[in-house]
Symmetry: C4
Subunit: 162 residues, 4 copies
């Protein structure tokens, strides 16, 4: 990870997709149309470490369901959902914090993340990102979505900045 | 996939089984008899791409539970459930659209899909289809049911027709 | 499976444990103490085939929760749950059908199934049975609990008897 | 496991983390913020065997959600949740039973278990413990969290003490 070190040291804002990043990209659906997703407890420790070194986090997602809001609240991370244009939201989040896109990391897994991955200084994908976007990443994590990939990313930023 | 190209280019209607295709062929059952299934978020992007190139989609299932209807509504795909005779339904769906069975693709995974797989121009199974029907397929997907096999199929049709 | 053929041909009653056989031996628990289990849709086709060749089925389980009753009703299989002594129940089920233990198959996965596995003519375990009982089996299935092991067993009996 | 034998024979109290030990370290979250976790039925037999040989068990967890209490009640194991300081609770549990930390085993999987793993006579981690704490273990189980690692641990203590 040597060549990543300067990028990890420079991250000031971490932006995350939700499905396929905090989850394994699956959804459980019941007869009443209620949805549930599967998250990894280990990710919470990672986000805590980002806060420790002063890196802010935000979750941006296309999905309109409220699960992401519920989960973000528990993880104490800001989130915006139901987004038609993730890149516009990412630019707004960076701008209102006075952070450049170069100092921003984005972690996403599918084609609706392509524009964000291309825009930021540190483009990151989980091990099981969809092939069309895997090639856009500067860093491919060893862990899969929902299997601690957020923790892996956060731990590396924390180790570079603490 | 070279020899599949003419078939992919000619598909005008895509017909899907539900369990074992959109799901991993499992069902979660609770004490009240309520059921839930596990679907893959990636499949939605694939169905969207089919619409982009003008290929219609329909889900046909033997199961009578309303989960499939709930999921189909979210995916914006037509569905018919509780079918005793899937092949009859498949013929009706093709006929009312003026599409021949040769121009129809069917994606199914178990013995109640055998007749449909034998009837269509492009018979497709997920990687983990039950052995008795796997041999009926013209194309065996790399992905398993509920693990993005619908997306894999749709992406290939889309790539051939866009 | 050649040496199993006479045993498969002679089965008249199939007795199943539930957890670890129809399920992956896991249970989902929520904050209200409600439980859910994960079953395989493929197993239903197998039980249907047993009925086709006149082999009766019954599920016996130590667990007292009603999920097994709910699932058994959907699968149209008799079941008895909350059993302190599975072997006594197995003997009763065989006796009231006039079936000998030699003509009975039992499929179980853990130590509370040991006595039943030792008592029947055809002792069967899923691929992931607990090591202490795996050695008691005459036949170790290729599939794991909740991954179609019931289907694999039923298909073999059906193929030997149809 | 030869060198572990004296340690296994000497255990008088077994202390367990919950998430990542009794579960696979994942949580299912629905739209109402309700959580569910996935446990392994095999673990119950193990805890029963610990009681058989007179080894007491207690679950300690940082998480404040009531699922652990619900599960512990079913497993008939004491539990304390919402703990800011697990090590202090571990010391209290050992002291009020008159058991030394040398005679205590602790099974945990992540960084909030580090202090407990360092304090006890027998430090144990599941196969998929987080790398930062895996190195603190005297014994790394073959099974993963939620996949029967508790059973594996209990069976070994039981075999050494019965």
């Amino acid at each position: 990870m040597n060549e990543l070190d300067p990028l990890l040291s420079g991250v000031r804002l971490a932006v995350f997709d939700f499905d396929g990043v905090f989850t394994d990209n699956h959804v459980w659906v019941n007869e009443r149309g209620e949805e549930a997703v599967r998250c990894c407890r280990a990710d919470g420790f990672g986000l805590h470490r980002l806060r420790e070194v002063g890196v802010e986090s935000v979750i941006l997602t296309t999905e309109a369901v409220p699960i992401v809001a519920v989960r973000a609240r528990k993880l104490e991370v800001e989130c915006r959902h139901g987004l038609a244009d993730k890149l516009a939201a990412l630019r707004e989040e960076a701008e209102r914090r006075g952070v450049s896109l170069e100092e921003t990391a984005f972690l996403g897994n599918d084609i609706n993340d392509a524009a964000c991955l291309e825009a930021v200084g540190l483009a990151v994908v989980p091990a099981d990102a969809w092939p069309e976007v895997a090639g856009l990443a500067r860093w491919t994590l060893e862990r899969r979505g929902g299997e601690g990939c957020v923790r892996e990313f956060c731990d590396a930023v924390w180790a570079a900045q603490r």
